[in-house]
């Protein structure tokens, strides 16, 4: 394995745009092009263009592809209609989350699993192991795709200039093959920003041309290139979990308040079922800690790993993600807190910011919901 980070098909574009690059999960990725706050605001009010080519694509093919995914993941993917997508997770035998995933059903016997960059290798390994005995093939398609995302209220209008695909008929969490700017693309109405938007899976060789076409089409609508920094504040405001922060191997979907993705009613066994049944019961009867939103009263920023304390200074939880929220104008955090302090409005909750108890308001997630 090489020490130097991998670069995406758009690397030269990022450098030409003067992006500040960062190493992320083994990839060299754009952190920001100018001001991350301006990029964040562009996505909330106009549109942003992201390079997400670091995400890990895995194809699952064959007659029993759906059955394999039902066994390997916590969701019921065999019930997914062709052209639709689902948010799901892959868990270990003990119920711990190995990754959170988006799965697209491209055809009756063809699924596209999209893993986080940092987990793609182990998702690929787990799926391959779990495929034993199924009439299905697990194929590493990480090099087959570049992934561009257009996100924001103007995204549909920008994309409509470049495609004949029926965008109006494309629902949230659906994807269909089409062409964008003359390039073949899987056009998916998915994203990670809390806004309407699209993710475009294309051949790496077409990525630069597509980036240029989207940039030109979006110029009049205020579309700007956006980096990972604003992607994180956007998803945080939208209350979306991030692997390695809210989700870890030591967390089950029920601990993260995402038990709804686990489909116990599906036929047959699946990896982690027994442990997850116990986790579901525990979360319902005596939850240890609950994922909540915290809004800072002051301007110092709660960061991942900072303790959450009560009025006496006793530790009652831990921040998993925190950042200044451009939309709220104040710092916000996602945190696991003891169930006794998880009710919105609980008095006396503070975050220990480097030795000072900074008061925070407990709220239900998300911090931001777009107007539909």
């Amino acid at each position: 394995m090489s020490d130097s980070p991998r670069v995406t098909a758009l690397d030269a574009v990022h450098r030409a745009l003067g992006a500040t690059m960062t190493d992320f999960a083994g990839w060299s990725m754009p952190l920001r092009y100018g001001s991350e706050r301006a990029e964040h605001e562009a996505v909330r009010t106009a549109a942003g263009l992201f390079d997400l080519s670091h995400m890990g694509e895995i194809a699952v093919l064959g007659e029993e592809a759906g059955a394999l995914l039902d066994f390997a993941l916590v969701g019921r993917l065999s019930a997914l209609r062709v052209g639709r997508a689902r948010y799901t997770m892959i868990c270990a035998e003990d119920g711990g989350i190995l990754d959170d995933l988006i799965v697209y059903r491209l055809a009756e016997a063809e699924f596209l699993v999209v893993a986080n960059a940092g987990n793609a290798e182990r998702v690929l390994t787990a799926l391959s192991e779990r495929a034993a005995g199924f009439a299905a093939e697990v194929r590493d398609d990480r090099d087959a795709y570049a992934l561009l995302a257009v996100q924001g209220p103007a995204a549909a209008g920008v994309l409509a200039e470049l495609t004949d695909a029926d965008l109006a008929g494309l629902r949230y969490y659906a994807g269909l093959p089409g062409t964008v700017a003359g390039k073949p693309a899987l056009i998916a109405r998915t994203g990670y920003t809390g806004e309407d938007g699209f993710e475009l899976f294309v051949a790496p060789a077409d990525a630069e041309a597509l980036w240029a076409a989207l940039t030109a089409a979006g110029a009049a609508d205020g579309l700007v290139p956006c980096g990972l920094a604003c992607r994180d504040t956007l998803r945080l405001e939208a209350g979306m979990p991030l692997y390695g922060h809210e989700l870890t191997e030591r967390t089950t979907p029920f601990d993260a308040g995402l038990g709804r993705v686990v489909k116990f009613e599906k036929p047959g066994d699946f990896v982690g079922r027994a442990a997850l049944e116990r986790a579901a019961e525990r979360a319902a009867s005596a939850p240890p800690r609950v994922l909540v939103g915290l809004v800072a009263a002051e301007r110092r920023v709660p960061r991942a790993g900072y303790p959450v304390v009560d009025a006496t200074g006793a530790v009652i939880g831990e921040v998993t993600s925190g950042a200044p929220s451009p939309t709220l104008g104040r710092p916000v955090a996602i945190a696991y807190v003891d169930a006794t302090h998880a009710e919105p409005g609980t008095a006396g909750v503070a975050v220990d910011i480097r030795g000072t108890a900074a008061p925070h308001e407990v709220i239900a997630l998300p911090f931001y919901t777009r107007q539909r």
Partner: protein
């Protein structure tokens, strides 16, 4: 990225402008401001505080991280920039002008720190 020739620079990316009365104005460089990203909060020392070269005397928070602010010289704080406390974005938009951070009366009894660099030396330092 240009570093004004009349300033001196620390390895911790502060700039320092000395006046005839022995009071220096201190800020962070454009290099540092760019590396931090959008600054959202600054905590400055208080007027009357005594600061020591190389020691932390405040904080700069950006979207993704928090960094210590270091004193480039020994001395006593004579003034802090309230405008930058109220609008931390000044650190990014005008790091060498409106985004200055504090003024310090240099303690002439102590040895002047040798680590301060010229603009050219600092430019070479940040290219390493």
């Amino acid at each position: 990225m240009s570093n004004p020739q009349h300033l001196r620079y620390s390895k911790e990316h502060e700039w320092l402008s000395e006046s005839a009365d022995g009071v220096a104005t201190v800020g962070i460089t454009e290099f540092a401001a760019t590396a931090l990203g959008d600054v959202v909060y600054v905590q400055l020392p208080e007027v009357g505080d005594t600061v020591t070269a190389g020691d932390s005397c405040g904080e700069l928070e950006s979207t993704k991280s928090v960094s210590d602010l270091y004193a480039p010289v020994n001395g006593e704080i004579t003034e802090v920039n309230q405008a930058v406390v109220d609008d931390p974005a000044l650190v990014n938009s005008a790091p060498f002008e409106a985004g200055w951070l504090f003024r310090v009366r240099i303690d002439s009894a102590s040895d002047a720190p040798a680590e301060l660099m010229s603009a050219d030396e600092y430019a070479a330092f940040t290219e390493q």
